[in-house]
Amino acid sequence: MSGGDLLHVVTNDDISKGRRAFGRALIWGSGALMLLVGLAQWAQLEGISSFGFPNWRPTLYAYCLWATCLCWGQVLINGEQGKRTLFVLPAALFVISLTVFPLLFGMVIAFSNWNLSNPDGRQFNGLDNVRQMLADPFYWNAMGNMVWYCAAILVEYAIAFALALALNAEIRARKFFRVAFLLPLMLSPVAVSWMIGKSMLVIQPAGPIIRLMRTLGWENPSFYSSPWMAKLTIMMMDAWTYIPFMMIMILAGLQSIPKELNEAAKVDGANPWRAFWEVTFPLMLPVSITAILIRIIFKLKLADIVIAVTSGGPGGATDTVTSFIFREYRDRSNVGYGTLLAMVYLVIIIIAMTALMKLAERYARPRT
């Protein structure tokens, strides 16, 4: 991004001293109020004194007040410059207060034994959770499953690319096909898991896919009994939902390729197969990488289908990290351990994604 403003505005703000002082007072005053309310709350929690607060709501309201005053104060103090800050500041405050703060809070929880149903509340237990995690075969099993699930993206990508090519060809009823292909993405994964995962794959002996499999010669089709079959089924359902997403990104990329390039290849005597590999595919590389990276990000959040259909079974074969932590919380309501698992997951994701992005950057650079 360029150094200076893209939009040059010349303003001669003359902000009076009083206004500036008022702005400062506003920010600091509301900040002090927030601190005061927070302290009072804490004092009540510790049993030092009672202010009759039923919960932490007052602190939340004080925080909202402070945030508003901070935004307003920007305009009061900095004039025109403050008005520009006002574009980004609300979103930034929102994101910071909703991610950074809970993350820091999560760090504290992660190293404690905290059962929400237990009246004793939080107990700091040092590295016990880490030790438990290292010895937890189901967690690492779920982690391994994630690798398989992510590997499935390559197949999804191939299918999505083929579909995008077909949609990009000169066809009739393009609008119909586009809408039809898009629909799976719109449906809620929970409904999908019922529609496909249960009603089409479970009803014996009449589920349509079961019947199809039987006509194709599979004696006794069952989709959730063997670990690999179950994993494949989950993969396919997830693919069904998300292939349209990749397809649309790739289609957008295909449409931005000038037609002349393919025509030139044809004139030079390349058959369609070669033209694809020598012209289209290399040109599509940056888009493909973006699509795959975004898809991986979405895949790492996969949970709905697993929770709704198999809840991890058989024997944890279909568990994703998210669904595993979800069950871990549901079954034992241990917040501390679950948070540690999630934190470790986050760290692994960040490392893996950074590495992938670095790698992608090297590959995606147009070759000359």
Binding site: N55, F87, F94, A169, V190, A191, K301
Partner: protein
């Protein structure tokens, strides 16, 4: 009339190949269209079946079986029950309203916050501590990587303390957070394609920067905002994980209701089918009529 000009034999030989390639393309498209549409069709038809039809696996209404309102009656939405009292229908509409309120409000919030931020980042240079514009953009977009499960348990505890558990406000806050990066992604692309001369002209004419934004830029960026809004709407409508964790009785959304019905009461396929179909119907309608915007939204950023 005799033909005077013929194609060269080479060109004529080319035709069959062209036809086969056509055939392959249409075959691929049709097969995939069936794969996409069949589950929806199956759900719709199952909702009109009764037990023997389900067990026999009848496919086509009026040919294989006679459609019955059984599934919809269980939901209180069949013609003969629609005007009578029905607890299930009341429940369904409660969940439905929850879903509508939560998804619409959080999408609106995300679009407002996100477009403002994206506009600011595309026009001015900011400096906050060590962070410059590109760092701030990256900070926003990096939220996309954050898996929901990391925030889920801390939020559970925080919401418990704040008495926000099982409230719509709590869900709205989290949903806004989860779609904000996507909105910023789309809107950044949108704003950077609008030339700055437009605002400069407006500023010369005496509008303030916010005035210029509201009167000049906003109308131009409206299609992009619509795309971002609809995409957020779809994502928040379908969200299940947070809703399952953070709500229990009062502010459940539709996906939670669908999921909770799956396990219990010895699956009655027809009513589940009716429920699922009712839950996805709004999205199917959006998909059919606003497909243009969704594709636009998702294609943004794919092509620079």
């Amino acid at each position: 009339m005799t033909q005077v000009f013929h194609d060269a034999p080479v060109d004529r030989a080319f035709r069959p190949e062209w036809h086969t390639s056509r055939l392959v393309v249409y075959a691929v498209l049709l097969i995939w269209a069936v794969i996409c549409l069949f589950p929806i069709y199956w759900t719709l038809t199952t909702s009109f079946k009764i037990a023997p039809n389900v067990m026999k696996g009848d496919m086509i209404p009026w040919v294989d079986y006679q459609p019955k309102w059984l599934g919809w009656r269980a939901l209180g939405l069949s013609p003969d029950t629609i005007f009578t009292e029905s607890t299930v229908r009341a429940e369904f509409f409660k969940r439905f309203t929850n879903s509508v309120i939560v998804s619409v409000v959080s999408s609106c919030l995300a679009v407002i916050l996100g477009s403002l931020a994206a506009y600011g980042l595309s026009r001015f240079s900011f400096k906050f501590l060590w962070m410059r514009n590109s760092d701030i953009s990256f900070f926003f977009l990096s939220q996309l990587i954050l898996p929901p499960v990391v925030l889920a348990l801390p939020f559970l505890v925080l919401y418990k303390e704040l008495a926000l558990l099982d409230t719509r406000v709590g869900l709205i806050l989290l949903y806004t957070l989860s779609v904000l990066p996507i909105v910023i992604w789309i809107m950044r692309d949108q704003f950077s394609s609008i030339p700055t001369e437009l605002e400069e002209a407006a500023l010369v004419d005496g509008l303030s920067i916010w005035g210029a934004f509201a009167t000049i830029i906003l109308p131009i960026a409206l299609p992009g905002m619509a795309a971002a809004f609809i995409l957020s709407l779809v994502l928040t409508w379908n969200e299940y994980f947070f809703a399952a964790l953070l709500t229990s009785t009062y502010s459940n959304t539709l996906p939670v209701m669908v999921a909770s019905q799956t396990g219990s009461q010895g699956i009655s396929w027809w009513s589940m089918a009716a429920l699922s179909f009712a839950a996805i119907l709004p999205l199917i309608i959006i998909g059919i009529f606003l497909e243009r915007f969704i594709i636009k939204g998702m294609a943004a950023g794919a092509v620079k």
